[in-house]
């Protein structure tokens, strides 16, 4: 039963990919705010601080970390174009090769490999305690103009970053899949990407038709779920036992 849910999703996506139609996306304010964030940094001459959090790639946090890379790439490319400085706080040792690879690739593709500053990729040891100390410390010392944090978080420390960015006048953007962090990023951060938003961001930014179509597949899947919910709820209200379909 559970596995068939994945297979159905796979088939929907494959069918849509074979149709070769590029879907139209509604606007996501947080993604459209990236030029504003970068522009603000350029205007004020302050750096943009970026972090992916402390989710290790070998755990389930890999999903949001991989998704955060798309936002990193976008932020970095726009910053290179407009001339803003990006300071990247790395807080899990396995992010080092990913972020370094992407940074070098981005500078090279923009034809400015000489502008790479290795000292702007700061490794701070790992774990949430050092992330708290180092992030607010670096934001304060470098007078950050914007703070971007798509990645994993335990949930308790997220208000610190948003509120600190707010008090030093930096604009902030966060994207998390951890449901416990959502109330904070919705209220405290200037722009937020909730759960599926951050996972889909990479596809919306991408020009690859396969990537964009998978998001379309996800929407079809969502409509199917809405159907299942309506039918299942009404059936169980009428006294039919539908829970056997959802046994674990």
């Amino acid at each position: 039963m559970h596995f068939s849910l994945i297979v159905v999703m796979f088939l929907i996506c494959m069918w849509l990919i074979s149709k070769n139609i590029t879907p139209h996306f509604r606007s996501l304010p947080a993604l459209e705010s990236i030029p504003e964030l970068v522009g603000r940094c350029v205007e004020t001459g302050r750096p943009l601080v970026f972090t992916l959090g402390y989710g290790s790639l070998r755990t389930a946090e890999a999903a949001v970390t991989v998704a955060g890379l798309a936002i990193y790439e976008e932020v970095l490319k726009q910053s290179i174009d407009k001339g803003a400085e990006v300071i990247t706080i790395i807080n899990s040792a396995d992010h080092i090769p990913l972020l370094r690879g992407l940074t070098e690739e981005a500078y090279r593709s923009k034809g400015k490999p000489e502008e790479i500053k290795p000292e702007n990729l700061i490794f701070i040891g790992g774990g949430q305690y050092s992330q708290i100390a180092a992030t607010i410390g670096i934001m304060d010392a470098k007078k950050a103009g914007a703070f971007v944090y798509p990645g994993s978080v335990a949930g308790a420390d997220i208000p610190i970053y948003g509120e600190h960015a707010g008090t030093i006048g930096a604009m902030s953007l966060a994207g998390m899949t951890n449901v416990a962090a959502w109330p904070w990023i919705v209220s405290i951060f200037d722009y937020s990407l909730l759960g599926e938003d951050v996972l889909a961001a990479g596809c919306i930014l991408s020009k690859n038709p396969i990537m964009t179509t998978t998001i379309w597949g996800g929407d079809f899947y969502r409509y199917a779920l809405v159907g299942i919910i309506l039918v299942g709820v009404i059936a169980s209200w009428m006294g039919i036992n539908v829970s056997i379909f959802f046994a674990s």
Binding site: R26, E61, A62, A63, P97, S130, D140, W216, S236, S243
Partner: protein, 204 residues
């Protein structure tokens, strides 16, 4: 009675040093920051060495588990990041980690995030009007919020109305979590201040 226990003094000093950041950034907080970064790097490295020892080296030596040679060798490729030309080699261990991480996330998510949630709402119609109202609020909130995350459709017409209701209920739900967590987190600060008031100064 002021305590003479050095452990309590250290705990209290950390509180004073770190909380000085409330007024402004200063060398005392910078000291905390540097201590934390350095110690964390040390602690995580020690845990890493312990993991290699327990998972790979000890079984290899004691139980002749020769398969453990493979990860020990592939892992060395991660050190290829030092060189720009051999950088691509470090992608192999990363690929295995990403595959494992995404595979774990993907397989569990169907059961825990979708099927169990579906099961929890398929209940018989309750008896009292208040409970019926509650379950209607539940279904409306669920469908409205679920449809907010649709990407390929503009929020217009009846669809827009449903997502609008979902958005309102979503904000109320998040507000309640906000309030709940404010209450919970005050205890973090209270326990820290108890170190100074109770343990160090012996008041209260």
């Amino acid at each position: 009675m002021i305590s003479t226990d050095i452990a309590i003094w250290i705990g209290a000093l950390w509180v004073i040093f770190a909380y000085s950041f409330i007024i402004r950034d200063n060398p005392l907080f910078k000291f905390c920051e540097a201590t934390m970064i350095g110690t964390t790097a040390g602690v995580f490295t020690v845990i890493a060495f312990d993991n290699i020892k327990k998972l790979a080296l000890l079984p290899l030596i004691e139980k002749q588990a020769y398969i453990n040679i493979i990860p020990l060798i592939i892992g060395i490729l991660l050190l290829a990041q030092v060189s720009r030309r051999q950088f691509y080699l470090s992608r192999l261990p990363i690929a295995i980690m990403v595959g494992g991480g995404i595979g774990t996330a993907m397989s569990r998510t169907i059961t825990s995030n979708i099927v169990i949630q579906l099961r929890s709402i398929m209940v018989p119609l309750p008896k009292t009007p208040f409970e019926i109202l509650n379950i209607i609020i539940l279904i409306v909130g669920l469908l409205g919020t679920l449809l907010i995350f649709t990407y390929t459709r503009e929020r217009k017409g009846p669809f827009g109305w449903v997502t609008k209701i979902g958005e309102y209920l979503m904000m109320a739900a998040m507000g309640s979590t906000f309030g709940l967590l404010i209450t919970m987190r005050v205890t973090y600060v209270i326990t820290r201040l108890q170190i100074i008031v109770f343990d160090l100064l012996g008041l209260g």
